[in-house]
């Protein structure tokens, strides 16, 4: 089992870097090509959420991402240093139905979680010290070496 860990200053510009690294490690770990887009998007969502929380509550603390390739699953853990602001987070998120009559302005706050829930078939959200961790995983095929 091999793990790649990265930390980055909570700036929106670095979320793209995190996505690219996560996708590269997922590919090397053997995640099927058809799932790489899902990994990229879900990691981006989790990191975007972490950046928003850090910028508001602890801009000096880095966002942490751990990418672990196992024999059966590729796992990603994105950790906020502060859970403040996430107290109202419901998991699993309510379905973002977006049906007519629903105020569209009320949708974006839950969209990120809805996207993560829709992309990763295994998602867990847990307290981690003062922070909050989003753990996601995908199946692997044959590692790329």
């Amino acid at each position: 089992m091999a793990t790649v860990e990265m930390t980055f200053t909570p700036l929106p510009a670095h979320v793209r870097t995190a996505r690219l690294v996560a996708t590269a490690v997922a590919r090397r770990s053997g995640v099927p090509e058809a799932l790489l887009d899902e990994v990229r998007l879900a990691v981006g969502e989790a990191c975007s959420r972490a950046v928003e929380v850090h910028q508001e509550h602890c801009p000096g603390e880095p966002v942490r991402v751990a990418l672990t390739g196992g024999r059966q699953r590729f796992e990603v853990v994105v950790t906020n240093a502060s859970a403040v602001g996430d107290d109202g987070m419901a998991w699993p998120p309510p379905p973002a139905t977006g049906s007519d009559g629903q105020d569209p302005a009320a949708l974006p706050a839950q969209l990120g979680l809805a996207v993560i829930a829709g992309l990763a078939d295994d998602v867990q959200v847990s307290r981690n010290g003062d922070g909050l961790s989003i753990r996601m995983s995908w199946p692997v095929g044959t590692p790329a070496g």
């Binding site: 929106p12 510009a13 979320v15 793209r16 996505r19 887009d37 990229r40 998007l41 981006g44 969502e45 975007s48 950046v51 928003e52 379905p95 973002a96 139905t97 977006g98 049906s99 007519d100 569209p104 302005a105 949708l107 974006p108 969209l111 990120g112 809805a114 996207v115 829709g118 992309l119």
Partner: protein
């Protein structure tokens, strides 16, 4: 790839061509453009996403915000998108019920004209 934005008027409808990645870093630029267009009196919008390579929930939020703004003026905001990877995000979030999503700019304009 960064975000590239262009816009032009066709048959009285403002078409916004978006190319690149719409995420937490680049979405504010799209938000500014949509706000500027609405503030300058363009209430019939088509956002062409055929060259969008990546879209996250921040981008979705910007599009929803744009829709809300044009609807306040009895306007419309339609999308052009045929990429499965992008359409999947709209389906996951249920936003296919909120936006008109078309296969081409011509189709989007024709659909809007037919509703007038």
């Amino acid at each position: 790839m960064d975000l590239k934005l262009e816009h032009h008027t066709t048959d009285g409808i403002e078409v916004v061509d978006v190319e690149g990645e719409i995420d937490v870093y680049t979405a504010p630029r799209l938000r500014e453009l949509l706000i500027d267009l609405v503030n300058s009196g363009h209430y019939q919008l088509v956002v062409n996403m055929e060259k969008v390579e990546f879209l996250d929930s921040t981008g979705l939020g910007v599009l929803v915000g744009g829709l809300k703004r044009v609807r306040a003026h009895d306007g419309s905001l339609d999308l052009v998108c045929t990429q499965e990877r992008i359409l999947k995000i709209f389906r996951i979030t249920g936003l296919t019920k909120v936006f008109g999503i078309h296969d081409s700019v011509d189709e989007a304009i024709a659909a809007r004209k037919s509703e007038k």
